[in-house]
């Protein structure tokens, strides 16, 4: 029997009789997309300002998810571990800032040290201190978790590390829920600075306290702007760190091939710890911003945002930093639009349905590299 030439072998699968029927599945997906676009377009035409407001709230959510998703995607990229405890680290960040602001009044320390400082500077420096403290606490927590729980299991089967991650997640949640730690209740969060809201209608105006938003106006708060700026800044910083520095090169090498990286003189354990620390620092920042934006925190409320951020990372292609960003924005929009036009409890279902559909079309996420075949 004559062997077909190699070029023919690769297209052989496409020549099977069923391959021509791919249009059924593609048509199904296209119909689904048209339906979604139709619903969105109709709503946009009916009430453009409401639509704009929903998109803005989706942006706010998406940029917070992006901050958490970075930690997931970096850790997964480097040790192939779904770090379920990351969402709880994020919540710890929110709680640290809560205690710093409410119990210790850390956000007004510049006023106490320098009495005649302008109030604006007091707020800026004070808030930055709170954020920095949260980031440092989260970093040390994540490094501790990594050293105590994950490092001993690096050569064990991957499932053991995953179970450990779930265990750490349980521990953080329920230890935090003890009465002498954080208590299991929802706690109203005191913001370190005042919320300022502007509305856009015939130009930009500031919303005075007690004033009603005019009909058909788009409102923007300073929280939204801070979240977007912080998230973009972190994104740029991280890109610089990974692409331009020696440490970033070591991280990429470790993620590519651990034993070889070790042979090349890279301190693999140090790099892994560093990755955990960086991810946790951003999660801490995200936690503070999340608490400021949604102003109610509990130890158990870190699970779902964490999970959704993880889903965002998967959507964008896990291991890819811009992918995590795109996925998070998509996730935020999906959630906000569902909340606005379908119903609030359905938002998780829609978010995860989108995940499943995207994975079916692009199995490794939007920006993910195709999976290597098992040797």
């Amino acid at each position: 029997m004559q062997r077909p030439p190699t070029s023919q072998v690769s297209t052989y699968a496409a020549q099977r009789p069923g391959a021509k029927l791919a249009w059924i599945g593609q048509g199904f997906l296209a119909l689904l997309a048209i339906l979604v676009l139709y619903v969105l377009g109709r709503n946009l035409l009916i009430n453009p300002s409401l639509f704009g407001q929903i998109v803005l709230s989706g942006l706010q959510l998406g940029f917070v998810y992006a901050l958490i998703a970075l930690g997931y995607t970096m850790v997964y990229g480097i040790v192939k571990l779904i770090n379920f405890a990351h969402g709880d680290v994020f919540m710890v960040g929110a709680f640290v800032s809560y205690f710093a602001v409410t119990r210790f009044g850390l956000h007004v320390w510049p006023a106490a040290v320098v009495p005649n400082l302008a109030p604006g500077w007091v707020v800026v420096i004070g808030s930055l201190t709170v954020v920095l403290l949260s980031m440092i606490v989260c970093m040390s927590l994540a490094v501790t978790i990594e050293r105590v729980a994950y490092k001993p299991l690096r050569d064990a089967p991957r499932i053991a590390a995953l179970i450990t991650a779930i265990g750490v997640s349980f521990f953080l949640e329920y230890f935090g829920a003890l009465n002498f730690v954080f208590s299991p209740r929802f706690i109203p969060y005191q913001r370190p600075f005042e919320v300022v809201t502007w509305y856009i209608k015939d130009g930009i105006h500031m919303l005075k306290p007690g004033q009603q938003t005019p009909e058909g106006a788009l409102t923007i708060s300073n929280i939204l702007i801070i979240i977007i700026v912080a998230s973009l800044l972190v994104q740029v910083l991280l890109q610089f760190l990974v692409r331009r520095t020696k440490l970033g090169k070591a991280m990429r090498a470790t993620s590519f091939d651990k034993p070889t990286a070790r042979l090349m003189g890279i301190n693999v354990d140090g790099v892994i710890s560093f990755t955990f620390a960086v991810g946790a620092a951003f999660a801490g920042l995200g936690g503070v911003l999340y608490a400021i934006a949604y102003s109610s925190i509990s130890t158990l409320s870190g699970i779902l945002p964490g999970l959704k951020a993880f889903v965002a990372a998967v959507l964008g292609g896990i291991g890819s930093i811009p992918g995590a960003f795109i996925g998070a924005l998509l996730m935020g929009q999906a959630e906000a639009l569902t909340m606005g036009y379908i119903s609030t409890p359905m938002r998780d279902a829609v978010a995860f349905t989108i995940l499943i559909v995207v994975l079916l079309v692009r199995p490794t996420g939007i920006l993910g590299e195709p999976e290597k075949e098992k040797a």
């Binding site: 391959a19 599945g25 179970i163 265990g167 949640e173 329920y174 999970l307 359905m346 279902a349």
Partner: protein, 458 residues
Amino acid sequence: MDFNLGFLLISIFKIAIVLAYLYGLLTVLGHPSKKVKIGGVIAAFAIIQIALVPFGEFQVLADFDKGLLIQACTMTMVALGLNLIYGFNGQFSLGQWGFYGIGAYTAADITYRWTNGDARGLLVGGLAVTLIGLMIWLVAKLVRVFKGMPVLSQFTLYLMGTIVAGAIAVVVGNLVSPVFTPLLGTISAPGPLNNIVALQIVFLLAALIAGAFAAEVSFLFGLPVLTLGSDYFGIATLGFSIVVQTLMVNSDTILPFPEMKGGRGMIGIPKLDATIWFWAFLFLLLIIIVMRNMIYSSTGRAITSVREDEIAAKAMGIDVAYHKLLAFVIGSLFAGIGGAVYAHYIGFLSPGTFDFLVGFNPLIIIVFGGLGSMTGTIAASFGWMFFLEGLLRVLLGQMGTEAPTWRFVLYPITLLLLMLVRPQGLLGNVEWGFLKRPASPARPDRNAAVDVAASAGQ
């Protein structure tokens, strides 16, 4: 602060007794004589029955322990299903809890409607499951004609078939149900069909329908999703269990099931207090036997080979996609039946029970017991259930109202320590008694084969 040592010792003793009981049951099942097998099963059933009966003041197993025992049985069913999917077939699934929830809600809805004078639940459910099954079979024949059809297109065809079958079932079921209504009566005046014996039959049917329904959903879901790589499959199944839970929360608003009462939880499910242990035991036994026989059949070997190396399995002529799907569907069937039993034990279902965080428990159990070890899974399920509740009871004496929280502080620490000490699980690959790999009498002795070869060479 008095440490309740006596209670702790009794708890440990009870766990040991339960495990010894299971070991005895498995040993008896492994006995070649059929009489011993049947006798042993009846004896095992009777032992628990007697242990549950109070002799004056003394009772071996309290009502609380009975509840634990039944919950451990349902947990074993779920965990065995997950072990088939993950332990034996290597597909990292986090969606088992979703199928458990589907089974629980389906069965509960059927029996709830039946006791409230509405036969539509059973009729529509039964018809839908049968018709969807038929439709899947028909579409599968159609799909087989077009070799190399993309999975997404196959999925679309199956989905259309399922929707058509479901619609037919709803229409026909609603047409037939008025015949049953006078026989069922109302809650205040139950008709001739609305009694305890009929309820047992309805429960049996409901459990089977629930299992079959969970299996069909898992088929539809698994068909496209099983093409994903291991971690992506895990995340997609996690998404599935969250979608299922969200639908449960919205069951009275988005789904047309007002009796499920959405997030407030479904109440008024008929509890089978007198017979629930019988059903739990029966289904558990059946599932263990089915699973054991399947694992040691050629299908089971094919399923295991997919876990070991997909490419090698494919090279050996094993249909990898088919065996992945088969393991996934059967695992979900077990979970669905487990859910049905659980719903009729507890009598109350709330979406909080089917939270994905709780859904990690079967995974934790099978990793504890050892992936790919049926004995390990069964022992770990019972041990885990009694350990957690025993821990709670011990803590209740010390901590008062904060005990449930403290339990989940200590539990992860135990988890971490066990993972550090034995990352491969308590039993690894060891099987006991009935679950041991049977010696195959058909295989000729290796030395004899050498002799034959040698004599042939001369």
